[in-house]
Symmetry: none
Subunit: 459 residues, 2 copies
């Protein structure tokens, strides 16, 4: 039985697998900052070389932004498309890191050994679980278990501007029976899970401009427009007193939770007190009549992710600034339309503009929410295989985050996605001191070996 | 008649006076930047030497920060205390200067010749108008017209940390009948003016802290507190819909404008359209039932001078930040109590804090508004003398800015101040390419000669 041998080889190869991951982690592939453009290309090249060494026909494919990595291998069985991303989030505030973010190292954590560094969990550590599973499979059996296409993106953390055109231009090459996406987590860090509901995302930036230059608040204060005042009004008006979002038509397409999903989620016995307690909080925020899991997985939100204006250095400067700006994101559910939400936000701002203040919207991209067909037998097969590795039943869960790729696979390639990942809530993705448990890395690779075996009928 | 001779001597001595000012301007006495500490001492020494050469008993006086210059001279008549400051603002952004800021030069401007360089208007050019007037007086008559004390500060541009203790420790030495402060401007750059109303200032910083670290808005959004949301609510709630400040008791001590002052201000025919138009604005902001000059000079304000939180770099980061902060200033009028305003602001914030968010107030200092007794005959005498130099009636005006020294002279030395200066709104103080009109410099010196003559009865 080949699966047992593949699993044994994964166990035997753990030290080398970790060395490979460390190499990839050392490349500071921050996609949102132009100064790391060369590093993104380096990360792509590293992956092309590594996949080639396994036997894939791998290549770096140019886009107007950072390159894609595409690889093909194997024959027969179901055709699987594997997706991951090699780019990472910026590292600021850098002073809160306990070690240099791109000099990863093993540490002891409360739940065992872990790998510390930017990208360990999101998403280099996760994508390498799949690569290691395939490496072991080829090494042990001489071939991949079925036909596999790999797509690794370098712009996931900066809005994926090249992704849709790339999928459109290469649809025939990339289309498979089902996609496997490794960018999600375990439920409460302990229950293996396939994420089948994802919130969508609309990201906006608004810049308010008033006077032609910064003014002295003593000379002009009380008579001249202060764009910060208007900005805080616009942002404060985004929610009503019950925590609902006030944009016109915002709740169009937001479904109520189906009874069977509500029942499944209740069975998960989500410990929201611990979830919040881990980050120093105690009380659920937002709509009072919704359960915590509903708020996270099936309710839409509006969040201000960044705000700036005027003097923000040490001490005090009585400036009345010429401009103020904010970054705002909306999480979408059901069939909420990103374009309609964008339009409603622009209207929300413009309806509040007095004379002498104008608004600019330099950013604005979005993706709708996604929902996977859990009644497709392949989903059940994968869920069973996943449960066998972890010794407990795996769950179908929702996710508060947005993985727009799953929606694009549905829209452009007509293909559903299995979102399977091994991250934990305490991995601090997007934050200082990001980490990935060694257990997630090694059992993740073993999980993929099992899922590949089950789906290809070679278990 | 000695005044005519003094004025003639000032005219004859213009080239040498300009050379002296240029020497002082070349000393980069930036008080806020420790690397210019030696230059501040050099500027103080230069002034001690110059005042000594006129016949003053002048000395450099140590403080925990930059030194004070104190000088005594003359006998009889009213005892006048003259105040100015020899320190200057930093020069950044240096790339916006058309010439090196500490290599001053004469240029042609739209309204005649001007002196370009840091400190020309704020405050070296202004303080030298007084010194030149006294030099001419001594040269022509052999003595000062009355008893004069001079106090020149080196920390005005960095919050004057040593000033209050110095005034307290040297109160008996410094107390005079009235203070003359040369750090203000002409009304609309054309009408000679004595500033008799100054707004006070309370400066606050508020920091809101929620989660123990930055969170991913996909993972936590909708369930965890976002301190930016609370901050924009707190700041938006500072004003009601009519532009009034909502802090409890904020308008306690805010007087209505006396009819005769209202009439004086109306006579000034303030061109608010041009004032706002010069900075790209068109419509007066704020309380709709107040005139523009009332808003600037006699109404209190709340202004957000700076705000920051979350991700503010390029691109987008879906962070739910651990903290958010703002700098807020209140301009005070009448007898508003800075301490009461501070307390009301703290209460305004704390009343809005939900569970899981706490507020810190790392900053908070204030000074009350000042109002000078324009019914004191000395003020009318000075106003008349000033008008004679400029060939038009001089005005008693207000100022939206805060000059805390005037309040300290009242509180600590029990002495009122005449705020007389010759700066223009387009002097770009605190900004690149600061300038001072040659006309302000020469007619400023002549103005002081006339005021000294009138107050000492030697006109």
């Amino acid at each position: 039985m080949s699966l047992a041998a593949v699993l044994a080889r994964l166990d035997a190869d753990r030290v080398d697998a970790l060395d490979r991951l460390m190499e990839l982690l050392r490349i500071p592939s921050i996609s949102t900052d132009p100064q790391f453009k060369g590093d993104c290309a380096t990360a792509a090249d590293w992956l092309v070389a590594d996949l080639t060494s396994i036997g894939f026909d791998a290549s770096r494919r140019a886009t107007p932004g950072h390159p894609m990595v595409v690889a093909h291998g194997g024959e027969g069985g179901p055709h699987l498309l594997f997706y991951g991303h090699y780019d990472v989030q910026p590292v600021d505030p850098i002073e809160l890191w306990d070690r240099p973010p791109f000099e990863p190292a093993l540490e002891d954590g409360p739940d065992g050994r872990l790998i510390r560094g930017r990208g360990t969990s999101d998403d280099k550590g996760q994508l390498m679980t799949f690569v290691e599973a395939m490496r072991a499979w080829v090494a042990e059996t001489g071939a991949l278990p079925c036909r596999i296409t790999i797509l690794l993106e370098g712009e996931e953390e900066s809005g994926s501007p090249s992704l849709v055109p790339f999928l459109q231009e290469n649809a025939d090459e990339l289309r498979a029976d089902v996609a496997m996406i490794c960018d999600t987590g375990m439920f409460e860090g302990r229950v293996p899970a396939i994420t089948t509901m994802l919130r969508g995302l609309v990201a906006e930036e608004v810049v308010l401009k008033a006077a032609s230059r910064d003014l002295h608040s003593g000379m002009y204060g009380g008579l001249a427009q202060n764009p910060i005042h208007l900005l805080v009004k616009i942002l404060d008006d985004l929610h009503d007193e019950t925590g609902r979002v006030t944009l016109a038509g915002f709740y169009d397409g937001v479904p109520e939770l189906a009874d069977e999903i509500r029942a499944q989620w209740q069975a998960l016995a989500f410990d929201h007190a611990r979830f919040l307690g881990d980050v120093g909080l105690s009380e659920p925020y937002g709509e009072p009549d919704r359960t915590p899991l509903e708020k996270l997985w099936s309710r839409p939100t509006a969040e201000v992710n960044g705000i700036s204006g005027g003097y923000t250095g040490k001490g005090f400067k009585t400036v009345l600034p010429a401009e103020a700006r904010a970054k705002v994101s909306f999480r979408l559910v059901g069939s909420q339309d990103p374009e309609a939400v964008h339009e409603a936000f622009v209207q929300h701002v413009e309806a509040r503009l007095p004379a002498d203040v104008r608004a600019e919207f330099p950013l604005g991209h979005g993706a709708p929410a996604s929902r996977m067909p859990t009644d497709d037998p392949a989903f059940e097969t994968a869920r069973k295989a996943l449960g066998e590795e972890w010794g407990m039943e795996a769950a179908f869960i929702g996710s508060g985050g947005s993985i727009p790729i799953a929606g694009h696979f549905q829209d452009i390639l007509g293909m559903d996605s299995m979102l399977i990942g091994f991250a934990r809530d305490d991995d601090a993705i997007h934050s200082p001191n990001e980490k990935y448990d060694l257990r997630s890395f090694s059992k993740g690779a073993r999980s993929w070996a099992r899922i590949l075996a089950a789906l290809s009928g070679k278990g």
